[in-house]
């Protein structure tokens, strides 16, 4: 077997992950250079969570996950234990689809988990399959992530060989197959119904809702659980140590830890595992343990709290804890655990334009408000940046935004976690369209003067002297 590609020293040069003194539930092996091997995994408590699960009944395992209030880490923050309960009885086979498509701007944590600790993810998949009677697991890895694909495939080969995956796992009557599958470059495939379409060998376009959850109708029309890589990577620790131990970290409503990628204008950008719910944005951005402040002593201008789809935050939001409810009440979301920090040198219009350009480019084109609306937003922002903005452009931007996503966005972020309101307020099939509105509305609200300055700034138009008597 060929050895996984090391990407010549990339990891040493730009490690991404930065360890801190907090609890390590899912990054405990990252310090080892061979963290991705079965040997290291077994030497560091690997597959103990599976053994614990196999000693319990499937229902007991599901109950542990429910009690732990393990929140989904893919973006919506929906409790995994509750989602698992949506499987309709008796409609076998059920499937597990792992969402490893990570491509939300600013998001960088699932790739680390896949590259550095693939066995932890595999063990998480096994635990979910055992608990719910899922018969096959599909690990869908983003197409562009060659190293993650190699590490996962190598780990699967090892795990099959050692009897941790496949037929009658470790001498029990539990049998499941796990297959690594790949994407091929399309952000929208991260949306779970689009992911299922892609896994069926089709164009990755979101399905019409309802049904809202693939747990009812998913892969091949069968009940399907879709979970994020980080969500599942929590299960080995959770099953080894129990729900109570899990709940001793983080806060009451957001227990455990979470990985945050903090990027942008920082002294020490990085991916940090932090206690969910108790750590604040300020600690993460300014703390010595974490990012150590804005680069070169500059001032914070704004930050994106939860990936490209989330409405933007400012200085007054720094003391909010990294917890879904208060962040939702303040009008945004923790989303995919991606914080992008911008200092006072940043052009607000340009930053908003870049995020909108992403959504315009990635719109799958299935619904008109998104396909047309995101393109218009991008073009209007572009002309404002080019000094060709028109006085009515600000209202036009807001009006287009309102067509894609009427009312406050995101509606879901204002509700109670236990009852995420579905469908969210949008005129589109999926939330991609509304996502493009967030940066526009955020920056217009706060930095309207920057827009106005760009729009009213006119380069003087040279007036040609018209010779007297010339025909006009």
């Amino acid at each position: 077997m060929s050895t996984p590609h090391e990407s010549d020293g990339y990891l040493a040069h730009a490690p991404g992950y930065v360890a801190n003194d907090g609890p390590k539930l899912i990054t405990s092996r990252f310090e080892h250079s061979d963290s991705f091997t079965l040997q290291r995994y077994l030497a560091t408590g690997g597959y103990n969570g599976l053994q614990a699960a196999l000693r319990a009944t499937p229902q007991e395992v599901h109950q542990q996950v429910r009690e732990a209030t393990l929140l989904g880490r893919g973006g919506a923050g929906f409790p995994a234990g509750v989602k698992w309960g949506f499987l309709p009885p008796g409609k076998h086979p059920y499937y597990l689809v792992v969402n490893g498509d990570e491509s939300e701007p600013g998001t960088y944590k699932d790739r680390l988990l896949m590259e550095r600790d693939p066995h932890q993810l595999i063990e998480g998949c096994l635990i979910a399959c055992y608990a719910l009677g899922l018969q096959q697991c599909f690990l869908y890895v983003r197409g562009e992530m060659a190293l993650a694909q190699e590490r996962i495939t190598a780990a699967l080969n090892e795990a099959y060989e050692a009897g941790y995956v496949g037929r009658e796992i470790r001498g029990s009557d539990f049998s499941v197959d796990i297959v690594m599958s790949q994407g091929a470059g399309a952000y929208i495939v991260g949306e779970e119904t689009a992911l299922i379409e892609s896994l069926e060998g089709r164009r990755g376009m979101p399905r019409l809702k309802p049904p809202y959850f693939p747990a009812a109708v998913g892969l091949y029309g069968q009940p399907t659980i879709v979970n994020n890589v980080e969500t599942l990577s929590n299960l080995p620790w959770l099953l080894t140590n129990g729900a109570e131990a899990y709940r001793s970290y983080g806060s009451e409503t957001s227990p455990g830890t979470r990985m945050f990628a903090v990027s942008g204008h920082l002294q020490r950008p990085g991916v940090y595992e932090v206690q969910h719910g108790v750590t604040t944005f300020r600690e993460l951005i300014y703390g010595n343990n974490y990012c150590q402040g804005i680069r070169q002593g500059r001032e914070l201008k704004m930050f994106i709290p939860g990936g490209g789809s989330s409405p933007w935050f400012f200085g007054e939001h720094l003391d909010l804890p990294l917890e879904a409810k208060p962040v939702g009440a303040a009008g945004s979301m923790l989303g995919s655990g991606a914080i992008v920090v911008m200092d006072d040198t940043t052009d607000a219009v340009k930053a908003a334009w870049r995020v909108v350009k992403f959504f315009a480019r990635e719109s799958c084109g299935k619904c008109t408000p998104c396909r047309e609306g995101t393109t218009w937003l991008e073009q209007i922002l572009r002309r404002i940046l080019d000094g060709e903005g028109r006085p009515a452009d600000i209202d036009l931007l807001l009006d287009i935004g309102d067509n894609i996503s009427p009312g406050p966005y995101p509606a879901a972020a204002h509700g109670e976690l236990e009852a995420v309101p579905f469908p969210p307020r949008q005129t589109t099939i999926c939330p991609l369209g509304p996502s493009a509105v967030a940066p526009v509305v955020s920056t217009i609200r706060r930095f309207r003067h920057e827009y106005e300055a760009k729009i009213t700034r006119r380069d003087p138009i040279p007036v040609m002297a018209v010779p007297a008597g010339a025909a006009l």
Partner: protein
């Protein structure tokens, strides 16, 4: 002359295609992995390869093309040996991604989207590649480089020209392949053939809502 579609894949790759299909309950699910296999072999996805993929998974060539064209990674014409993807999305924009892209254009003497005349390099501007804390960053044939300065970029190009990296040619993704024989698998069958609750569930069925 058009190649006969059965000989599009090498013998090894034809066998690998069959192996890949065997991992899925329905052959069509192997669509994307098989297109990657074709691109790995030839550096792009040829019409003949799409025809063969369609035959292997039992769909029309038009359906294969329609699906393949949705996904950005698939190329339908040859590209450079090295595809350099520079990210300019938000975190990279903040840390010099646009400037890096401009520098790359100058050094390679090509526009964004262009290929150098020696067919060594194709340059693209891409969206977030999940390395945001390492901005500005890029990928060469989907292998990462982070915190890339202009000097780093120049050295990278020199090394690639001199063949001094272990980066394989365009199209090669995972160099490890999943292989486990049928005997060690749980058994992969179409959904119609798996209607029974699995044994470890039915054994606990008195309390299981699912049965």
């Amino acid at each position: 002359m058009k190649p006969d579609s059965a000989s599009v894949f090498t013998t090894d790759n034809e066998a690998r295609a069959v192996e890949i299909i065997s991992w899925f309950p329905r052959p069509r699910s192997a669509m994307i992995p098989l297109l990657h296999l074709a691109q790995q072999q030839d550096g792009y996805v040829s019409d003949a390869a799409m025809r063969r993929v369609g035959e292997l998974i039992g769909v029309t060539t038009a359906e294969v093309k329609g699906t393949a064209s949705f996904y950005e990674m698939f190329r339908f014409e040859p590209v450079g040996r090295y595809l350099i993807n520079v990210c300019t999305n938000i975190s990279c924009l903040l840390c010099g991604g646009e400037e890096l892209l401009e520098h790359a254009c100058e050094v390679l003497g090509t526009e964004v989207g262009g290929t150098t005349s020696d067919a060594m390099f194709t340059l693209e501007e891409v969206e977030c590649i999940a390395a945001c804390t390492e901005a500005p960053c890029l990928q060469v044939n989907y292998r990462y480089r982070g915190r890339v300065t202009n000097t780093d970029f120049d050295r990278l190009v020199e090394d690639l020209r001199a063949g001094q990296t272990d980066i394989p040619h365009h199209g090669v993704l995972s160099q490890v392949h999943q292989r486990t024989d049928a005997e060690h698998r749980a058994g992969i069958v179409p959904p119609e053939q798996a209607r029974e609750a699995p044994v470890w569930i039915s054994r606990n069925s008195d309390t299981q809502a699912g049965d």
